[in-house]
Subunit: 384 residues, 2 copies
């Protein structure tokens, strides 16, 4: 962080992080008329104040130091849904601590790749910083002392400081293994052991305390920089949806943690598989009506599935994928409008909905309703 | 058409064909309060009056009789850009004849698969209806008498007729071979012969007269149903963009064709390859500035390409594909906003722009500005 704080000659641009929305541009620092060119940052102006703005340094986007290595150690990272889900979930949690109007988001710059690798590994004499349990004695360490921690994600929240930006807060996600996958010998069969939530909670809380203490010692982190640590439970490797956050804590200063808060999130794929119970039967029925409606409409529909996301028991979002076979652009356009009209009629109102219409040659169209909106936006991908 | 005209017991739904736009639903015929359930059609209501509504019969979408077989005969159909481009181009041409406020679009129902196959084949004693030249004598028929016609597309434009719909107009696209590909022996090497535009024009005009005469004899087509025939030049099989329409004619009644109109359309892929000249240097420079801007921004950008479309020398649309490698959702979101902001700043105003942001795992985000709009819509595809 020292580098950033001292960056008096740095050109810092800031772009809007709106996940979706019409952009409007309030100012443009590359206009010859505006300010000095040596030390400033700017915003593009936002229409969606619920989104963070991202940090650019010297005209280049700041990727995380531990970029691509937050998912690590062994075979734990094979469900890629977990990655996206953990990132956007941590951002949502951060919003309750770091207001989007005041803070900009920079990908984690404090924890380096090497540090992340050490923290995620098992503790050992050669790796005293490992957050996962030491192997200890006995051959059954993989079931008795599984690796609880699989992934680590850092997000830095920056605040304006004159013409520059300074660190205003840190969010850390610890991705815990609900299922720990391991091999008994190299290249051997993969086994898994289930870890219950109380155990993950206990292990995660202990790790959180260590992580906060270590961050406090890092350059650029002051004694009262707020640090949020959230515990995430990775979905199993065959899941068609990512995991969920289950607990979080804030350290306002020093190594003191505040009270742990329980986070009640659930994900479910629809239609539910045999023997599985719908988390919310109304939502499941609405989805089933929607899906019947569009399956009847189109001769060669291959399948409709949805990822649903609940917070405190309430549906907050649905990502629907429609797979079908198309022979022409006219079919895709008609079908897309029909999907939008069926979504309006059958799907639950109020929550965010994203529908992608896919064929074997990739995405053909998409239909979306943002949170708080009433109407659907539709787009059919074209070609000349 | 008889079937459709006699369809007193048919439930015909009509959906909006808006390629893109916010949907609002003006009426809903499945509401128990509205009308009889046995014979009616309805519209979803449009916000974009420049789009056709599509036809649904008995709750199912009406695909074309010649579905999937419009592209046929031999190796001519290997550039899939041609298919999309021809379909949407024919629709654009139709709009100048059949107003979107009065006509609904139904995929071609008159020309059956078998008929299309016969028409597209070479004329022979066993296939007198073949529109392509007979082989004749001599081994050099593939260069001397190439197959001019590769594809055939029919679109039916329907008008309200009491509680039902009747045929109000027909549009036909004849997809001509600028490059005719052939094998000298089965499974042998593929050769190609170039056919110049005057030759295609002459051949296409003769075929158009035959097609109009044959359509007039079909059931449901009256003597004064307007028939539009447009000639399309397929792009070569290696092109990264589809072909263009070059001529069209309207038969208002009988077998009489009106005056042929020249259509001035051009497509080009940007950046241009070595030795190729940009169709419009301003557009090419704007694109190059845009591309430089975003390539500087992001560490792992693999490439930016665009399909550009010109009508009468004016840029009317750009489809841009950005390929890059991402490690996380935050990167994608920041990058998407940066792309939108760069597009706003550098790309030509006034024309339709669609930008898809791709990684190896498929589409990640998209940015679009509809024709006539000033601001860009952005969407980052999410996952739970």
């Amino acid at each position: 962080m020292k580098k950033l704080l001292a960056a008096g000659v740095m050109l810092a641009l800031v772009v809007t992080l709106a996940g979706c929305g019409k952009l409007s541009f309030s100012s443009d620092a590359t206009d010859s008329s505006s300010g000095t060119a040596t030390s400033k940052y700017q915003t593009t102006g936002t229409v969606d104040s619920s989104m963070y703005q991202g940090v650019i340094k010297n005209g280049r986007y700041q990727t995380s130091s531990a970029r691509g290595l937050t998912i690590t150690t062994n075979t734990q990272g094979s469900n890629t849904y977990n990655i996206k889900s953990m990132e956007s979930g941590l951002k949502s949690i951060s919003m309750t601590h770091f207001s989007t109007s005041k803070y900009d988001l920079e990908e984690g710059q404090l924890i380096s790749t090497a540090t992340a690798e050490n923290w995620l590994a098992r503790q050992s004499s050669s790796n005293p910083d490992g957050l996962n349990p030491a192997k200890g004695s006995g051959a059954d360490y993989q079931t008795k002392r599984p690796e609880y921690l699989a992934t680590l994600l850092e997000q830095d929240y920056m605040v304006a400081n004159g013409n520059s930006l300074k660190l205003g807060g840190i969010s850390i996600a610890l991705g815990m293994n609900e299922y720990y996958y391991y091999q008994k010998k190299a290249y051997g069969a993969t086994y898994s052991t289930h870890i219950d939530t109380p155990t993950l909670n206990k292990a995660g809380r202990a790790m959180a305390a260590k992580v906060v203490a270590r961050l406090r010692k890092m350059k650029g982190v002051s004694n009262d920089t707020p640090i949020v640590v959230a515990l995430y439970k990775n979905a199993d490797q065959d899941a068609l949806v990512g995991g969920t956050f289950f607990s979080s804590v804030t350290s306002k200063s020093g190594t003191q943690l505040g009270d742990w808060k329980t986070i009640n999130e659930q994900n479910q794929v629809l239609p539910v598989v045999e023997n599985e119970k719908a988390l919310n039967t109304t939502v499941a029925n609405d989805f089933s009506n929607f899906s019947d409606q569009i399956e009847n409409f189109f001769p060669t529909l291959a399948g409709v599935t949805a990822q649903t996301h609940y917070e405190s028991g309430q549906l907050t979002g649905m990502n629907i994928t429609v797979n079908t076979q198309f022979y022409g652009q006219t079919e895709i356009e008609s079908f897309t409008q029909y999907v939008a009209s069926s979504a309006q009629k059958y799907l639950p109102s109020g929550s965010k909905i994203e529908i992608t219409i896919q064929s074997t040659s990739g995405i053909q169209a998409f239909v979306a309703r943002e949170s708080g909106e009433k109407s659907f936006y539709t787009h059919v991908f074209g070609s000349y």
